[in-house]
Structure formats: C-alpha cells, structure tokens
C-alpha cells in the first residue's frame, strides 16, 4: 500500500501541489484583504479562551466588547458577532473614545492612533479599580503589554501576552492562548 503511494509519479503530484498553493495564496490574499475581519475572529477566540470570574457578569449575560478610539472594524465586526456566542454569551459591541464610556465592558479593544502616554493612562484607568475584570487587547500598540495591557496583537496574526496583568485582572487565560502567544511578558508596570 505504502509503496503504491510512494510510487505516485511526480507528474501526478504536480496538480495536487498546484491546487494547494492556490489555496494557500487565496488564504493570504484574503488575510490581507480582511485584516480586521481576521482580527475580529481573533478577538472572538481570545474571548473563548479567557475565563472571567463569575462576578464579572453580574449585570447581564452579554459579553461586552468595547472598542476604544477610531473603530477599525466598521460593521464587519457587528455582522460577524451577530448571532455569535462565546461560552453561551452573546456579543455586545460598544464604541467610545473614553474609558468612562466603555464602563461595563469585558473586553476593551484599543485601536491604533493613541500615543504611548495615552495608552498608559487608559490602562491605568482601567485597572485602577479593583475587580475591573477587563481583558485589554491592543491593536499592535507599542509597549502595550509593558504598560499593563494584557494582549497586544502583532503583525502576522501573532500576539504578545502579559500574564501578570491578566492575573491582576483576575482573568484565567487558557494555556492554548499562552502557547500561541509569540511573547509572554511577566511585566508589572507598577
């Protein structure tokens, strides 16, 4: 049996490989095309593999995503997250320019365009209170994790993860996320 597989002539292999390459290129082109669609998916995945303490959901059963700053997703994320559930919870997406406006969010997605100082301030604001239980995700923001953010998306679909901040926020991060993180920073800004 094995032999018959091995005996497949290179000529026969060519079309198979060609098809696969086309698939791979398609994937790449799509990724380029829908970067934020992909990022929305990533957010969904993070939500799946991060465990909030039960008291984080006192006021309702929806999982609230707050998009801070200029919304890069547009209605893509709304369409995507409509009828999507994470651990039995539906999504709610809020958009705001200030932290205050995003109060009650479980995840805060920080868009690009903030200065490092601003970011720092936002993060301090978020985690200043006890029991904030907020997963902060930075959209490729420099020193996001160093400044106390939990996950920072980096190019090529990778991300860095600050486990200390996560612990502080009393969030349990699935080991799979830890595994997949390109960099784990045990860094406490304080």
């Amino acid at each position: 049996m094995k032999k018959s597989f091995l005996n497949i002539s290179p000529l026969q292999l060519v079309p198979v490989i060609a098809v696969l390459f086309i698939l791979v290129f398609q994937q790449e082109s799509r990724a380029q095309f829908d970067e934020y669609e992909r990022k929305a998916g990533i957010i969904n995945t993070f939500a799946k593999y991060v465990n909030w303490p039960s008291k984080a959901f006192m006021e309702g059963d929806k999982l609230v995503l707050g998009i801070l700053g200029d919304d890069p997703f547009g209605d893509v994320i709304d369409n995507m997250f409509r009828n999507r559930y994470v651990n039995g919870r539906a999504w709610e997406i809020r958009r705001a320019k200030t932290i205050r406006e995003l109060k009650g969010s479980h995840i805060v997605f920080m868009a690009q365009g903030f200065k490092e100082e601003e970011v720092k301030t936002f993060l301090q604001e978020i985690y200043s209170r006890n029991n904030s239980f907020v997963l902060t995700i930075g959209d490729n923001i420099p020193n996001f994790c160093k400044n106390g953010g939990i996950i920072n998306l980096t190019p090529n679909g990778l991300y860095t993860l600050n486990i200390v901040s996560a612990n502080k926020a009393q969030l349990t991060i699935d080991v799979k996320l830890l595994n997949l993180a390109s960099d784990i920073i045990p860094y406490d800004p304080n």
């Binding site: 696969l20 969904n44 995945t45 999507r84 799979k176």
Partner: protein, 642 residues
C-alpha cells in the same frame, strides 16, 4: 478427538472474532480520541490562524505514535491548515537532522513530500483492513459551529500483528487441546476399551468352548460394569436355557428311543401272528376250495404279505436307526441273486408287459462274499420301484466291476427304468424316511416310503453309496456301489451256506426217511411248521419246551431239531447245550437249527455258541425253511407239491 478439535477451534475462533471486534473498536476509539485531542488542542491556533503551533502540536502528539502515518488539521473553511506526514518527515530525517527540525514546522515542504494529501470530509471513518489503513475525520465544534476537522490515517500494523497472534493462539489452543485430549484419552481409552476388549475375549472363549458357565468377574460401578452384569445375566440365561434344552433333548431322545423300541417290539410281535396268517393261508391254499374261496384267499394272502412288507420295513428302519443291524458274510452268487429277483417279479412284469434285461459285466466275479439278504433287499426295493413306476418299456439291471484288488471288489449295481421319473427338486427328498416324490405317489402307487431310505442306509452301512439319475417322463436310474470281499475257494468250506445247494445236493435221501423234532411253544408256529414238514414229507415230532425235547431225544433218534430259542421251562440255548454235552455220541451231533424271532445283532453268534448249527429267523419264508431242512437232513425231493 474430532469433537474436541471442532469445539476448541470454534471457541477459539469465536473468542478471536470477539476480541478482534473489541480491539478494533478500541483502536478506532483511541484514534478518534487522539484526533479529538488534536482538535481540542488546536482550536485556538486554527481560529488564530497560527499554523506553526498547530504543526508543532501535531508533531508532538503524533511523533511518538508509530501507527499514525498522516495527520491533517482542516480549518473552518475546510482548508488544509496543518499537516503531519510521516513519510515526508522520514525522508527529511534520511537527509539530515537539521532539515528534519525545520521540516516539522514546514507545512508546505511536508505537503510537497507527503505520499498523499487527504481531502476534507466530516466525521468519516474508513476501516480498510486489507489496504492496511484507518482513516478518521473528527471535527471540533463550539457553539458557533465547526472550528476544525482533524484527519488521521493510522496503519493497522498492530491489528495485523494481533491477527497473527490470533492465528498463533488458534494453533496453540487447538494444538494443546489436541495434545491434552489425546493424553487424556489414552488412559481413558484404557479404562474403557480394556474391559470391553476383555468382554470380547471372553465372549469369544465362550463361543469357542461352548462353556456358558464362564462369568466375567470384573466388578465395576460404571456403564461397563452394567454391560458386564448384563452380559453375565445373558450368559446365565443361556446356560439355563441350554440346560433345559439339553433336558428337553434327552427327554425327546429317550422318548424317541422308547418309541423306536416300541416300534421294533410291536413290529416284531406283529410279525409272529402275521407269519401264522401267511402260513395258514398257504396251507389253506392246498386244500380243496371253490373259485370264490380261492379268490378271497388270494386277497387275504396279498394283504398279509403287504402287511409283512410294511412291518419288515419298519423293523429295518428301527434296527438301522438304533444301530442294531449287522451284516453277515456269506458267499453270494451274483447272477443267481439278480435273476432270482427278476423271477420273483415275473408275474407282475408279465402283466404289465415289461421287459427286464439283466446285464452282468464279464468282469464281475461270479461269486463274492457279503450279505446276500441285504443285497437282495436293496435290489428288490429298487427293482420293485422300477416295476411299480414303469408302465411301458423295459427295466435294465446291470452289474459293473468298478474296482478290484486282491481282497476286495467293488460292484456297481444299477436299476434303470423307463418310468415316470423324478423331478429334480424331489430327488434330494426321496431317500428320506416316509417320503415319496409326492403325496399323490402314495395314493397312486402305495408303499410306505421307507424302501429307498432303507436301501440307501443299508448300502451306506456296508460302506457303499447310492445315487440316482432321473429325468421326468424318461425314467430313472438308481445306482449303488458296495465293496465286497473276494470269494476265495477256501471260504466254501467255512460256509456251507444255503445258497450253494448244488454242492450239497449230490447224495440225497428221501424226506420220508428223516425224522425232525420241532421244539416250539407257540401253537400257531407248531401248527405251521408241522404242517409244512408233513407237506414236504418229513416225519416230525413236537416238543413244547426244551425239557420235553431232551426227554424225547433220549427216547428217539432225530435227524434234525428245529429249536425255538425262547421257551418256558427251558429255552433253546440251554437245551442245545445239554444235548451237546450230556447225550451219547450218536445223539450228541444231531443238527440243530435255531428258530428265533429276534434277528438282531449277535443272535446268530449266540446260537452258534450254544452249539447250534444254523438259525432261521421268524417269520420265515417256507422256501427258506425247506432249503435249510433239506441241507441239514441231506434230503431233497423235487418240488412237486409247490
């Protein structure tokens, strides 16, 4: 043995099939679990589209698994997301280790070097034992749908090994069962078949020795024991039955013997009065009678002679069967015997218009030594049969010399007729006592059916044989062969036998000058003999018993004494002894002829021992008596009165 083989094979096969099924299910389940684990492990990486960790994870999980050949993760969109191809990795490993480490994570390289790339399918399991692979697709879902699908292809080496083990096990179990059974069956067989063989041996001994008192002593409590008990029981039944059969046989034999003796005695007792009747009839014939009386007398005589024939036959049969028959040795003139028979039947043959041809071969000696009476009896039987059953044609009596040496001569006598013949299936039966060719024969031709049986037995008792050739409607030929002693001149002196009257009749006196004393107690016999003697011209005197005879002899001289042996007061034997011992020389040598009714074995010897010269058995034919009387008184008168 065969049964245990089948049983063990069957159970082993059943067990193997069950175990195989179990193993296969387990194998599939384990592979599925592995696939599920891969799916669970890589849901995040698939969602995050990080194929490198997935590649690493696949390699980590599958690298140590010897059976997984290919592992593939498909993402949500059914695209090939990560791949583990053992063949590709092995190729890399063959080249160099550095490349190998790289290749683990290099999806594209593995795809290009994989022996085959699976296409997407959802939750599909293909178990192909012959092609030696198991294909499994397991999809992982969350509440929003399928996250990924893991494909694993496992080769079935372990299952194949297991199947090999089954075969090995099968042969091991069956083989050990066979060995076990055979080792177990040997002593079992010994304990079962040994007593059975013993039984068979004893049964053989019993049937050989016919000894039903043998019992098998083996005491056992099992089925063999029951068999032995039953066998012993059967033996005792047989023994009992045998005893009762033997008893019954003895009873039957003794009653048959008693019957025979009764028959012999009866016929003997009947013969004496018949003798009287016949004698009286003869005497009556000589008196003056009218035609009607003569006719009645003729009928009376023929009835009496028939009765006598029947009684003689019965007596002969009983004598033969009781083995009391003895044969005399006297000189026989072959020609005379045969021709006398033909003469005796001449009236009948003339009436029927039959020719009788006597054909004596020249090689047949004129005289032989044997029992003339029995020879005659046989010939008469055959000849009378021939006459009886022939209605037209001729009868040939022929005598041939079959064999001759210095002392003996074997003669073949044959009586050939042109009569009715005998059917083939009856030939075997006609020599049996009381049997004729058919019952119809008895009705038509009469006879007791004893004649041939007696003849055959007489011939066989003399060491000869009798046989028959016959064709229905053409006639029968009866043959018999008897070996006689050769006649040598000296025997003549020993036997001054009756048949040689020519020699003794040279000097003859007149009967009237001879005085004969009859010693006889039976009145009928007295009358008969006295009348006959008177008729023949002899002077006779009568004594009622031996004592009176002695007295009379002392007073008068007699030329001959006819002495009955069984008488009251003094029997013939003692009277003869007395005469021979205590009488003066002139009277001592008087010839004495015994007259005895018991013509049995040893009678003649007894008479001779007592000193008698000859004997004549009752009932006697008058010719016979005349001849003897003439011989011993040396007197002969031409038979003018007869």
């Amino acid at each position: 043995m065969f049964v245990s083989l089948i049983a063990s094979s069957f159970s082993t096969i059943l067990f193997c099939a069950y175990d195989f099924q179990q193993y296969k299910e387990n194998f599939i389940k384990e592979t599925k679990q592995l696939a599920k684990l891969i799916g669970d492990n890589n849901d995040a990486s698939v969602e995050l589209q990080q194929f490198t960790p997935a590649q690493r994870n696949l390699n980590e999980l599958l690298n140590n698994n010897t059976q997984i050949v290919t592992g593939v993760i498909f993402d949500k969109e059914q695209r090939l997301f990560a791949i583990y191809s053992k063949t590709a990795l092995l190729q890399a490993k063959d080249k160099n280790i550095e490349l190998y480490d790289k290749v683990i994570l290099d999806k594209d390289w593995q795809i290009s070097h994989a022996e085959f790339i699976p296409s997407f399918s959802q939750n599909n399991t293909t178990f192909a034992l012959l092609e030696n692979y198991l294909d499994i697709y397991v999809s992982t879902f969350d509440e929003n749908g399928r996250i990924n699908t893991v494909y694993l292809r496992s080769d079935l080496t372990s299952i194949r090994e297991r199947i090999t083990t089954y075969f090995f096990m099968f042969f091991l179990i069956v083989g050990s069962v066979l060995i076990f059974v055979s080792t177990l069956s040997v002593p079992l067989q010994r304990s079962i078949s040994k007593p059975i063989l013993e039984l068979e041996r004893i049964a053989n001994i019993i049937s050989k020795k016919k000894d039903y008192s043998i019992r098998i002593k083996d005491r056992r409590d099992d089925e063999i024991g029951l068999l032995i008990d039953a066998f012993n029981g059967m033996l005792s039944k047989i023994e009992l039955q045998n005893e009762s059969l033997i008893h019954a046989k003895e009873v039957a034999e003794s009653s048959a013997k008693a019957k025979q003796e009764f028959l012999a005695n009866m016929s003997h007792e009947i013969r004496t009065p018949i003798n009287g009747v016949m004698g009286m009839t003869d005497l009556l014939q000589d008196t003056k009678l009218n035609e009607e009386q003569k006719h009645l007398l003729k009928v009376l005589k023929s009835s009496a002679s028939h009765l006598l024939v029947v009684i003689n036959d019965i007596l002969d049969i009983s004598k033969i069967e009781s083995g009391k028959l003895s044969f005399e040795e006297q000189v026989i003139d072959v020609k005379e015997v045969t021709s006398s028979i033909i003469d005796a039947f001449s009236i009948q043959t003339n009436q029927k218009g039959l020719n009788t041809i006597l054909d004596i071969s020249k090689k047949v000696p004129e005289r032989i030594v044997g029992d003339p009476v029995r020879l005659k009896q046989v010939l008469i039987n055959l000849y009378s049969n021939a006459v009886k059953f022939t209605f037209d044609g001729s009868i040939i009596i022929s005598v041939r010399n079959k064999f001759e040496n210095d002392k003996k001569v074997t003669l073949q006598f044959s009586v050939k007729d042109t009569g009715i013949g005998i059917e083939k299936d009856k030939i075997d039966h006609i020599f049996n006592s009381f049997t004729q060719a058919s019952n119809e024969t008895t009705r038509k031709f009469g006879g007791t059916g004893l004649g041939l049986s007696i003849s055959k037995q007489l011939v066989e008792l003399q060491g000869g044989q009798m046989y028959i050739e016959s064709t229905v409607d053409l006639g029968s030929t009866f043959y018999f062969e008897i070996t006689f002693k050769k006649y040598i001149a000296t025997t003549k002196a020993v036997s001054n036998a009756s048949s040689l009257q020519k020699n003794t009749a040279e000097v003859q006196d007149k009967p009237s000058s001879k005085k004969i004393l009859l010693v006889e107690d039976n009145e009928v016999n007295q009358m008969l003999v006295l009348r006959l003697l008177k008729k023949w011209g002899y002077v006779s005197d009568l004594a009622e018993n031996g004592k009176i005879a002695l007295e009379k002899l002392s007073e008068t001289d007699y030329d001959l004494i006819l002495m009955d042996v069984h008488m009251p007061e003094m029997d013939g034997y003692s009277a003869t002894k007395e005469i021979r011992s205590s009488f003066p020389a002139s009277k001592r040598d008087v010839p004495i002829i015994a007259m005895t009714a018991s013509a049995l074995k040893g009678e003649f010897e007894r008479c001779k021992k007592a000193g008698m010269n000859d004997y004549i058995s009752k009932p006697f034919k008058k010719d016979n008596l005349l001849q003897k009387v003439q011989d011993y008184t040396n007197s002969k008168e031409p038979l003018k009165n007869e």
